[in-house]
């Protein structure tokens, strides 16, 4: 049994909220540079250059990469040998979000009473927290702020088993085509397949955490990722929707077993400001 103080969790979450919002991951920046090489549209190349310049300014001056500093989505991998002491784990996560968004000059973008009063909670809480209990004595915390523009264009479909691989490909292409310029392309696609109605949406979001350009270890899924990326980039939407070869930087697929009657599929669209930072306690 290993003890971790709730306060340590809060401090860590606060730091990760700020780092995620100022410091674009090297994998994303690398993918943007590679996109700049391959983009044929002059307007598109200009946009990619400005996105890269933006990342440099954000990192240097500690200004958020995007004013939409996101809903704080927090993934916890909690070792079963860990004992959290001195407070409630989820309250510690929310306290970290509260501090990080206040001290980091990050925009608070959460409202309560979603279809009526829509009153801002004022501190960007509550976070959306996904917990997985795993063997071991560590706590892995990943903070993934998610913007509203790309989240709004995400879709879920309960396909029939007969739809098969082609059905999934068509669903992904239709989703990206309908999204057009709205989710701030170049985008990253998290695709969930299988599981259940709620599980497939989680898989799509979880897929976004994988370092860009790392294929799924399952050859069949890696092949699907390749096909999807190639075909999404034939849509012609391009950087910010002004036309071009680079609509998506990467497609990540995660799949799980599902019911004999079902073929759930979900597409979580992520804008180019793909922010996530993790720490292991």
């Amino acid at each position: 049994m290993r003890e971790i103080a709730a306060e340590t969790v809060a401090e860590t979450v606060a730091r990760l909220c700020m780092e995620a919002n100022y410091d674009l991951g090297e994998d994303v920046e690398g993918a943007l540079r590679a996109a700049l090489e391959r983009e044929e549209s002059e307007v598109g190349r200009g946009i990619l250059r400005q996105i890269l310049e933006n990342a440099a300014i954000a990192r240097q001056e500690k200004i958020p990469i995007c004013q939409d500093c996101g809903l704080a989505v927090v993934f916890l991998e909690l070792g079963q040998e860990v004992h959290i002491v001195g407070g409630d784990l989820y309250e510690a996560v929310n306290e970290g979000v509260r501090r990080g968004y206040r001290e980091g000059y990050l925009r608070k973008s959460v409202v309560r009473q979603p279809f009526s009063a829509r009153q801002n909670t004022g501190d960007n809480t509550p976070a959306v927290i996904h917990t997985r209990i795993v063997p071991g004595e560590h706590l892995r915390i990943t903070v993934a702020p998610k913007g509203g523009g790309s989240e709004n264009m995400s879709r879920l479909a309960m396909l029939t088993p007969a739809a098969g691989r082609q059905g999934i490909v068509n669903f992904v292409l239709r989703t990206v085509d309908e999204a057009g310029a709205n989710p701030c392309p170049p985008i990253i696609l998290g695709v969930g397949i299988g599981g259940s109605f709620e599980r497939v949406a989680y898989l799509a979001k979880y897929a976004l955490l994988r370092p860009l350009g790392t294929p799924n270890p399952d050859p069949e899924l890696a092949d699907l990722e390749r096909e999807l990326l190639e075909r999404v980039n034939r849509l012609g939407i391009g950087p910010q929707g002004f036309g071009g070869r680079i609509t998506a930087l990467a497609v990540h697929v995660e799949a799980e077993p599902c019911h004999i009657a079902s073929l759930p599929a979900a597409v979580n669209i992520q804008c180019h400001a793909a922010r996530h930072k993790e720490a292991v306690l």
Binding site: E40, S41, V43, G46, I47, Q50, I51, E53, N54, I57, A58, E61, K62, I63, P64, I65, C66, Q67, D68, C69, Y105, L106, R107, K108, S109, R118, N120, G122, G147, G148, G149, N152, G180, A181, N182, C184, R231, R234, L235, G236, I237, G238, Q240, G241, F242, G243, G244, R245, C271, H272, A273
Partner: protein, 183 residues
Amino acid sequence: MKRITTPLTEETVAGLRAGDQVLITGTIYVARDAAHKRLAALLEEGKELPFDPRGQIIYYMGPSPARPGRVVGAAGPTTSGRIDPYTPALLRAGLKGMIGKGNRSPEVRRAIQEYRAVYFAAIGGAGALISRSITASEVVAYPELGAEALLRMQVEDFPAIVVNDIYGGDAYEEGKRTYRIEE
């Protein structure tokens, strides 16, 4: 690259074509859906708006908080489609320009032609870079909306691209058509 200044004149608007890259200098107003809902309600009731919209540009944006000594935090565009339901009434009231990102509804595109206005896009997700073009910011109304308050800003060489012009041009459609590879 065309340099334009606000307020927008008939002549300036008529000279802009879908796909033109522009640098905007002058005063602009800033509002998201929550503020638009209130503006549209005032117009509906025949009441006066907190600012005179004639010839003006509204930027669809909600900034992150400014650090001490700064004018503004990150300040990139939000998705324009959410503002669509409120837009034709503002164009009828004399609004001449909008800055956001993403597609407009057929109703808004028709209203842009009918009322001779222009829709620009700024780069979504480039909020740190865009903040450098903003030299002043003040709250005009609805401070209780926080990041969604109605603001007035001074901008200098604010970079944007014309999406929809008075001639029915649409830079998103044209761009996609050029690069799409049909299967």
